[in-house]
Symmetry: C2
Subunit: 295 residues, 2 copies
Amino acid sequence: MRWAENFIAVDWGTTNRRGYRVGPGGALEDEMEDDRGILSVEAGGFDQAVAEIRARLGDLPMLMAGMIGSNRGWVEAPYVPCPAGLPELAQNLKWVEPGRTAIVPGVCFSDDDDADVMRGEEVQILGAYAQGLVPADAIVCHPGTHNKWIRLKDGRICSFRTVMTGELFNLLKGHSILADLLALPAGINAAFEVGVRRGLETPHITAELFSVRARVLLGKTAREDASSFISGLLIGADVRAGLALAAEAEVVAMGRPELTSLFAAALRIAGRTAREVDGEAAFLGGARHLAELVQ
Amino acid sequence: MRWAENFIAVDWGTTNRRGYRVGPGGALEDEMEDDRGILSVEAGGFDQAVAEIRARLGDLPMLMAGMIGSNRGWVEAPYVPCPAGLPELAQNLKWVEPGRTAIVPGVCFSDDDDADVMRGEEVQILGAYAQGLVPADAIVCHPGTHNKWIRLKDGRICSFRTVMTGELFNLLKGHSILADLLALPAGINAAFEVGVRRGLETPHITAELFSVRARVLLGKTAREDASSFISGLLIGADVRAGLALAAEAEVVAMGRPELTSLFAAALRIAGRTAREVDGEAAFLGGARHLAELVQ
């Protein structure tokens, strides 16, 4: 039986992991998700953590992507330089057990001025392209803890930029003077739109952040609007950084639907159209195509 | 005996407090500092926390400034709107015990577009002016957890902007993916200067932050340079936001000397001259002048 007709694909991140059993014809036969991200696995504990997945989903060949291949993960899988397509990823799989267990390499970008790295998003993006969900030439916005803006050219990742928006939002919510305001629910509403417009226009995001608190203290912004406004502000600034690289009318927003909907809304406010692609479906497609290339 | 010839001045912040006993002729007779910032004082515990200061420095009239007058402090002292000089502060003291214990109000700024607040810095800035340490018309950079850029006009605070640089640095150092890099020592060196120049020029600070990690991973930046670079990057972005308000060749950098030296270095890289003023001396001067106005 071909490898690709019966294997496990794992998207193993910093704080959680998702595993899928893929059967004949690419069918999704079973799946699991838990909070055993790489940071929760003690040194030397990865063999056991991997065995848990097989115990749950079956004793099958396994393809893993994400932070599991980082220097904080199980076995380091060196980055593949841009331009990178699925063939380059397949050629550079890091085999932990030859023929049975492999880690997908991340992708790096480097020029005179910039440097950037990704792990995990590459499988989604190239998987979406392989499935015809995005064109061969596209700009992709991938929101998450570390948001990525990726330029796809001829079906390969040719450059990208990471913006720390998700992590910054979490830091502010968890530990900053804005924490009490961010404890209130946020949504896509009028305050979000005002925030997005501000974030799109100001180059001084760290000044704008404090002014939210001041506006609430002085009664110029309603307390219950602050969270949506801050969310909009950070996403607007993120979109500003991303669109500095992109003249396209259409931007692909890929990832978790609750995040892509926020970025799609901000992109529309910025005058672009947004094509939303579910990151989980894209990942599965990418894993299936990689498994085909393993043969 | 006049009030101003024998009183206690307290600069009471979020995480610590400093108290000074001022004697005849404005002499500094005794001082104390501890970590009893307002966040460490339980609700209802401020009477006792204030009594500790008198037990330590003497049973004297007391003038307090800073977050002690905020809605998280002891008794709220409403903000005085810009333009605000020492006379406006004195007229709006919040008397907790009439004639004996007062809280200096903070200052707020508000126009169609912006809103901002300060508590504590106003005594330093107006105190420095009253002592002739800064001219009547000046731009003042006051680094701290919440950095302030203050426009002084005719010896009064006429507008200001807060940039969350200090808090952001602390969040990144304490809780972010950059924490391990920021655990290494930072200084004013070549990497700091490269960071400052980058921060002065880029409007995408949240993208630049992640790229530091990528540069280290890809071997483009030495690991031991990352902390100084990030410090420079954040300070450069802060100076960019502040100088957007200021055409002056000279900027006053006021506050804790270990912070003003960093900002003075960044200001010189940005082509300005910096006049450093010690914040503690400025605070004491401001408190003495306020005590005179209390009579």
